[in-house]
Symmetry: C2
Subunit: 427 residues, 2 copies
């Protein structure tokens, strides 16, 4: 039986999970896939972590060089996270003729051009299913299942932390701070939650997925980004009343106008399949010209689900004689011919606080009309404790610039109303 | 650029869809995948169909032999359906050294052992993503993404016709006959709907999917099958009241007791992701020991979605130098060591019509208790026009044999109540 040696860089949550899956299922993989996969080396500064997992002391490497020169290592699994030293280590492994499997979205998103070039040059594999949406098979679906389609849109809930927080706020009426604390207590959010709650993590994933879907490099820097820190229970409650659910969506669209990529809190109709993706679950909703709509749903993070994606890649790499790479020219920057649309087309939810006197609503709607915005729904409430009247407007699809202009105009109109929040509506 | 010639056997709905996708996207596939895929031949008795699609007359073959001896044909796409002559044609193509892509679930389910043997012998590919759940990437997910998992369960809504009918009954209160007629009018059901409504189609798909998931041959004949023809608006309405939704589920479980495979109408909690799979949409919900829960959702049928799966397989076949086959020993019959469980574990919904007199409920519950069935919920209604009292019992998880016995006992108990319907509940 063919022997395949693996080295794992980093025995944190995902690395430890991967180690366990590989060692516990070794016999099954021999039987089902005809390969004997063993963990030949690990690189982990905290030696006690490795020993606690049952790694023999002789297999704890002291440097990446040691792993690169180990002839028993065929595949290097990088699950350290962060750009450096991960990138240096991955390049060293590729240059040493090892295939690489990684879950590192930030590194892959920022440097896939360089990494793929080196992998191709050395004729080794570079696999990254685990970079996006944990165990959910979305990257291989784009490469090997939906590749006959012109993908027109890819919309995802790709970050478990923010989805947990928004689900919590929606179910319990908690405010953002309370929901974040609960997420941290349960291990769904980090002590420093910035990368998740500000949407950075989602932009890395959208960059990787939309590049594959639209067959051209979409750098994460081209993605409009807005986090969930301003989400309020008030807006969530009004949204519910209107039949919407608040989600941090990663939206990629490929239209005649160009490519639109954005990550922001979004109201989505409760009847849409993405609306029932709750808590730390993730999903990607893909529309193609022949497949129509497909949704892939599951656990977007965690030791075992991410480990499942990594081990899937390891077995794939170990049982295929030929490696395949991205099906688009993976340039360092966006291809100059790619047009990015920033004046998005969307419907909008606008909450205003208005003076309690006659004619205010008419002033507001006239500003909207002047900016070519047509109104789909309006709720006007009784005035609140502050003497202000909450007015909620949902618009038909319009352009982002129209909304920006209308908000400025309303706020400037003799102080009869001010815009409290603007949330895009996915329709 | 490498040229890859395709022959399509059958230009019905799916064949026509495939032809269109291939011809319309030829340039895109050249650019993205580096192959020039052309349709070199078609086999279609109704010549006018081919001409209407724009096939040149010279490419309309008159026999399978002509296609097998055509050196420009590399891949044969079989989308004729039915066992014969499809199987004979596929075997001829494989033996002529052509790879085969098929959407034919009945043929593949019944003869995959023989077909795979011949494909391996000739070192050609045999691809069948389109046999199950249209454009939804479930087969490749099992082979290339989730293959590191012990899959413990695979539950699917894998038939669009029945899902449309049950959705219609649930939304409009229509009875089975009315909903079937509407499905036929819309082209979701065939004039002779037996294969769909009696669950045969679902057993073929469950056979293919559960064999891959559980790494052993699961012949469709081992699958318990019950169609939807007895579904009633009354039970659907009671189910709703209890928080359930009626679906034709294809259920595969791999437990310590053995393998459980069954297709039958099932009540599923409305909060379960499968419950929101409506109309002609399909989905497969897979649970693995490391990936936890994954759901793959989309259009389960239709020219374009099924064409998407076929074209995905064609491109995969055309761009991979090595073909991969099932990751289990594909035997003709079930492996003698595979244990099939027929005394299922499930919760049950039982509707009874009882005499309107004292002590009846106590008699019923005592029969259930005697058969080791514990009750989770009971609804007792006012007596109906027929003077009978409808009683609905939902049980905790128990064994199928206990239920069978209890139903016999109740029906035999001095005619104080009779069982009107029994529906399994997926929990």
């Amino acid at each position: 039986m063919r022997k395949v040696g693996v080295a794992i860089l980093g025995l944190g949550v995902v690395g430890g999970g991967t180690y366990k899956i590989l060692t516990e299922h070794r016999e099954m993989y021999q039987k089902a896939h005809g390969v004997d996969i063993t963990v030949e080396a690990v690189l982990e500064l905290r030696k006690e972590r490795a020993l606690a997992l049952g790694v023999e002391e002789s297999r704890i490497a002291s440097s990446i060089a040691e792993i690169c020169s180990n002839p028993d290592v065929d595949i290097v699994v990088e699950v350290m996270g962060g750009v450096e030293p991960a990138k240096t280590f991955v390049l060293a492994a590729l240059n040493a003729g090892k295939s690489v499997v990684t879950s590192n979205k930030e590194m892959f998103c920022k440097y896939s051009y360089e990494l793929e070039k080196v992998a191709k040059h050395n004729r080794v594999g570079l696999y990254y299913e685990a970079t996006c949406v944990g165990g959910v098979p979305v990257i291989r679906a784009l490469l090997d299942n939906l590749q006959g389609n012109v993908i027109t849109s890819l919309v995802g809930i790709v970050n478990g932390t923010t989805n947990y927080i928004l689900s919590k706020m929606s179910n319990s009426g908690a405010d953002y701070g309370e929901a974040l604390k609960e997420a941290q207590r349960l291990g769904y959010a980090e002590a420093n939650p910035t990368a998740d709650v500000e949407g950075y993590d989602a932009t890395y994933k959208l960059s990787i997925l939309s590049s594959l879907a639209f067959h051209t490099k979409i750098p994460y820097t081209k993605i409009y980004r807005e986090g969930i820190t301003n989400a309020t229970p008030t807006d969530i409650a009004y949204g519910k009343q209107l039949g919407y659910c608040l989600k941090l969506l990663a939206i990629g669209k490929n239209t005649e106008r160009g490519i639109e990529v954005r990550v922001h809190p979004t109201f989505i109709r409760t009847s849409h399949p993405l609306a029932s993706v709750n808590d730390s679950y993730n999903a990607v909703y893909i529309t193609g010209d022949s497949v129509e709509d497909v949704m892939l749903y599951g656990r977007g993070a965690g030791a075992a689900p991410t480990g499942s994606a990594i081990v899937g890649d390891i077995i794939y790499c170990a049982t295929h004689v030929q490696h395949n790479y991205s099906t688009f020219e993976n340039t360092e920057k966006a291809n100059p011919s790619t047009k990015f649309v920033t004046n998005f087309e969307s419907a909008y939810y606008i909450r205003l606080a208005a003076e309690d006197r006659a004619g205010v609503l008419s002033k507001i709607t006239s500003v909207l009309g002047r900016n070519s915005i047509s109104v789909a729904q309006i709720i006007q409430e009784e005035s609140g404790e502050d003497g202000k009247v909450p007015i909620i407007v949902v618009t038909h699809v319009t352009h982002e610039h129209n909304i920006t202009k209308a908000v400025q105009d309303i706020n400037a109109t003799s102080a009869c109303a001010s815009v409290v929040s603007v949330i895009r509506v996915y329709d």
